[in-house]
């Protein structure tokens, strides 16, 4: 198929960016979206044009490294998939495709389509852990049974891949879905209880410091989340936060 690609090019964090147009032909249906970009890059290099820079690694929807805003949607058309799982059969010959980076104040652009999402790491560092040393001499793994329902919900929350689509989609650039997923995983498990209050306060505080916006309950994040992380987590986090602020002696 033949396509027209309109791609955001930006030489560096401080440089001014612009949309550039690249016609491309010979794209196959079976290619993934990122393979289509590889294909473009091979041609650009042959023409002496610097290839388009984008983040990617696992190419199977689990590492959370790929991003891209495709035709106005985080991870492109299709639900519950990442950009690396999007295939060209979703497009047709003659289409024009707009490809832009994830945009948010807290995700500065590094180059072209690549952004800096290290703010997510800093949120996790603020409390996304259970303070147990790694000696291996803890209690037996089966000593505390966890009701299956809670274990399953904790797992569902824990499947967040940290891609940032929720932030990129949100008109306020809020990171609530991401942060609430991690906080919920621990608050649903007995092991997470002792530090629950501190955790939610510290992680939310860090989220604000990083410059993410507030949540106005639009719900767009849940729709675009490739892992189907539920808004229920935000509600749980808000409850935990309120409770923690009222009862914490901090």
């Amino acid at each position: 198929m033949d396509l027209t690609l309109k791609i955001w090019r930006q030489a560096g964090p401080e440089a001014k960016g612009e949309m550039k147009t690249y016609p491309i032909s010979g794209v196959e249906e079976d290619m993934s979206f990122l393979e289509m970009l590889d294909f473009l890059n091979e041609q650009l290099i042959e023409q002496g044009i610097e290839p388009v820079v984008f983040d990617h690694d696992c190419r199977e929807g689990i590492c959370g490294m790929c991003s891209l805003f495709i035709n106005g949607e985080a991870h492109g058309p299709g639900r519950k998939i990442t950009t690396c799982q999007l295939h060209m059969r979703e497009f047709k010959s003659g289409d024009t495709i707009y490809i832009e980076p994830f945009r948010a104040k807290a995700f500065p652009i590094i180059k072209d389509l690549m952004v800096d999402r290290s703010a997510f790491d800093r949120i996790q560092r603020a409390g996304g852990f259970i303070s147990v040393n790694t000696s291996g001499n803890t209690i037996d793994a089966n000593a505390i049974p966890v009701p299956k329902e809670n274990a399953d919900k904790a797992f569902d929350a824990a499947t967040c891949i940290g891609c940032g689509a929720c932030v990129a989609t949100c008109k306020n650039s809020s990171a609530m879905l991401f942060a609430s997923a991690k906080i919920s995983q621990f608050s649903l498990l007995p092991q997470g209880q002792p530090e629950a209050k501190e955790r939610v306060l510290n992680m939310v505080h860090q989220m604000d410091l990083e410059g993410f916006g507030n949540c106005t309950n639009t719900g767009a994040c849940e729709v675009e989340c490739p892992k189907g992380i539920s808004l229920e987590n935000i509600a749980r986090m808000n409850r935990d936060y309120l409770f923690a602020s009222l009862s914490s002696n901090k």
């Binding site: 393979e35 091979e42 190419r59 689990i62 180059k111 790491d121 996790q124 259970i130 299956k148 824990a158």
Partner: protein
């Protein structure tokens, strides 16, 4: 240099406890004076960095991704083994040890494997304490599943995302130390050189991938936790960034590479669909529990299918060749990975492949769907169900078991595996070979350690499913943090290592020159062009079946490719700032050299064992012939300038606790 594996004396079950007790301790005050570099933040690296920091060492950790959480371990699907015996099915440390030795076709060290089995139990305790949400049963206790090659149920899992959950657990432990300032994290940094001072590993040259700057980092010890090198085949199930650079730089500086030719080719992956494909996707081993593997029995049918004139569902039962069931009646579709992969290749080579490229076989769930459907109908008391009703019921059972995999398959191939058989083909998945390490996980360069998939230590010639995650966490949480003490206890008075030494200067200079060379090369072909060609050579000659002639040809071809690469590769842009093409060029350069050594290793190993199959060494029925008399050793290669002229050192393997047997699955 003579290889000293430093295996402690004494009975197998006591070696580790005794050794651990005897390793000199470094006092907390002295630990503060010692710096450790950990390269890699997968399961092995994150767990090691967190543990060392807790103990009091100053740790610097590096990864090339934008976050430690994205290391390739994140992609592991099926599960992690541990000898917990929660299912009360007779599992034990000894059984896990035995299964691993046998599964590895008797090419691994007894002492290391036994230690692995011992600490496996602590891993599960540790992970649960960290909040890893493993699957649980209705009683709230941990659930298990079985994996290939064993008769017990010892695999812990978190749906199809076990690697993700374990890595996020290790990442949280790492984060806790980063927050305390005990670990300094360098993401988007790539180690491009190892610095050796007075014969000891004392630092690295790392490139800041965002700014393009080269940085000198010194330490008293360097731990390489940099993963496997399956990407030497270009197409593999590994992440795009997985590479051998860190290990290869260490190899060039004196670390021996062990058994580099031992590669695991996984039988059930989605086949190659075209020339522009960038990677292959695994379909979990668990599918072989219910799927039947077949190709058409008649060549005309296979040809008609390839031409799009015939649909598999229209081939009558008697015209199908369930070749695994035919060749291995005892194990059928559940033979180990290496055996299943070779059998698929054999049929496709003979002209029975079922996709455009002729390299695919069917994995068919129709029989399982009907079987489960009938069971369900019976359980639900449906009288005289129609075939359609049975099918619908059966599909629901299969969906509950494998839904996410079926969905993943459909996303990639646009074909519905409930309605027509999956097409699968073997793909490169894991590398058993890696840096040679002693019992302390130290390479032949004092102070340079290797953990996880980067070392060769535990899986012999074939790894069992769900054992890589176990090994990564065992090495990182429970082995290396202690065993480094033996080396570091001698360094308490050394003081900070200076980065101003001639050794650091020379190492940085070497990296700079290489970078300049690529940027100024003005060649005509892209990096991927060369990587793909390397992959083809490796797949055809150093892949599932190898022979003397092909391996010799491969060495010559790779050498020619290397020259052409340096003469004609084209890397645009500059060395300052982000330039992924430039970084890729460096990685591919190292993979090319590694490929040559792999071919050499495969050529020298005149036997078939595990994932290494030499066509000259097979029985009349085409089964692998191992040669214990002459090849029960680890090949450890010393770099001498040209990979094909590397010097071989042998570490003889002695088996005191298990008896060497021929694996038979007939």
């Amino acid at each position: 240099m003579a290889l000293d594996s430093k295996i402690p004396a004494g009975p197998l079950g006591e070696k580790w406890t005794k050794h651990k007790g005897e390793i000199p301790l470094v006092s907390p005050a002295n630990k503060r004076l010692i710096d450790v570099i950990v390269v890699g933040t997968g399961l092995a690296g994150s767990s090691a960095a967190a543990s060392l920091a807790e103990m009091g060492y100053n740790v610097k950790a590096f990864c090339f991704q934008d976050s430690p959480r994205r290391a390739h371990s994140i992609a592991a699907q099926g599960g992690i083994n541990a000898a917990k015996n929660y299912q009360n099915d007779g599992d034990s440390v000894y059984r896990l040890f035995y299964d691993t030795i046998k599964g590895g076709d008797y090419r691994s060290r007894e002492a290391n494997v036994h230690r692995l089995a011992e600490v496996s139990r602590n891993i599960i305790d540790q992970c649960v304490a960290q909040g890893v949400p493993f699957a649980r049963d209705y009683g709230g206790l941990l659930d298990n599943r079985s994996f290939g090659g064993v008769q017990v149920s010892r695999t812990f899992y978190a749906k199809g995302q076990t690697g993700q959950q374990l890595l996020l657990g290790a990442y949280s432990a790492l984060n806790r130390q980063i927050a305390k300032g005990r670990v300094k994290m360098y993401a988007r940094h790539e180690m491009q050189e190892l610095v050796v001072v007075d014969g000891k590993a004392r630092g690295i040259i790392a490139k800041n991938l965002v700014t393009g700057e080269f940085e000198r980092h010194s330490a008293h010890a360097v731990l390489l936790c940099t993963g496997g090198y399956g990407n030497v085949f270009f197409l593999s199930t590994n992440a795009m960034g997985s590479n051998v650079t860190a290990a290869w730089k260490a190899h060039r500086k004196g670390a021996y590479m062990a058994n580099p030719c031992f590669t695991q080719i996984h039988p059930t992956c989605i086949p190659v669909s075209g020339e522009n494909q960038s990677k292959l996707t695994l379909m979990s081993e668990s599918l072989r529990n219910d799927g039947r593997i077949w190709v058409p029995a008649k060549k005309e049918d296979a040809e008609a299918i390839r031409a799009g004139k015939l649909h598999p569902n229209d081939i009558a039962e008697e015209n199908r060749d369930y070749y695994l069931e035919r060749r291995y009646p005892a194990f059928g579709n559940l033979v180990p990975r290496d055996v299943a992969s070779r059998a698929a290749k054999e049929r496709c080579d003979a002209g029975y492949g079922v996709n455009k490229t002729g390299e695919a076989v069917y994995l068919d769930f129709a029989a399982a769907i009907m079987r489960y459907g009938e069971e369900e109908a019976h359980v639900k008391g449906v009288n005289n169900p129609s075939e359609a009703e049975i099918k619908a019921l059966g599909e629901r059972v299969v969906e509950a078991k494998y839904g996410n995999l079926f969905q993943m398959y459909e996303k990639i191939t646009a074909s519905n595996p409930y309605k027509e058989p999956m097409k699968i083909y073997p793909a490169v998945h894991y590398t058993m070979g890696g840096l040679w390490v002693d019992y302390n996980l130290m390479t032949t360069i004092p102070g340079c350690f290797a953990l996880g998939e980067a070392n060769f230590s535990d899986h012999g010639a074939n790894r069992l499913g769900a054992s890589a995650l176990m090994q990564g966490l065992a090495d990182g949480y429970f082995v290396a943090p202690y065993t480094v003490g033996e080396f570091l206890s001698k360094d308490i008075r050394t003081g900070k290592i200076s980065t101003d030494s001639p050794e650091f200067e020379a190492a940085e200079q070497a990296v700079r020159e290489r970078t300049e060379k690529f940027i100024n090369n003005n060649g005509t072909k892209t990096v991927d062009h060369f990587h793909k060609r390397l992959g083809k050579i490796m797949w055809n000659e150093v892949g599932m079946a190898r022979n003397e002639k092909g391996l010799k040809q491969a060495i010559a071809d790779i050498q020619a490719l290397r020259e052409e690469f340096y003469a004609d590769v084209r890397v645009l842009g500059s060395a300052n700032g982000m330039n992924p093409e430039l970084d890729k060029a460096g990685r591919v350069a190292d993979l090319i050299e590694l490929g040559e050594l792999m071919a050499k290793d495969a050529l020298e190993r005149n036997e078939s064992c595990g994932g290494h199959f030499r066509e000259e060494y097979q029985s009349e029925e085409g089964e692998a012939l191992r040669d214990d008399e002459n090849f029960a050793f680890v090949s450890a290669w010393e770099f001498t300038g040209v990979p094909a002229e590397a010097k071989l050192h042998k570490e003889e393997l002695t088996f005191e606790n298990v008896e060497l047997k021929t694996r038979s699955y007939k």
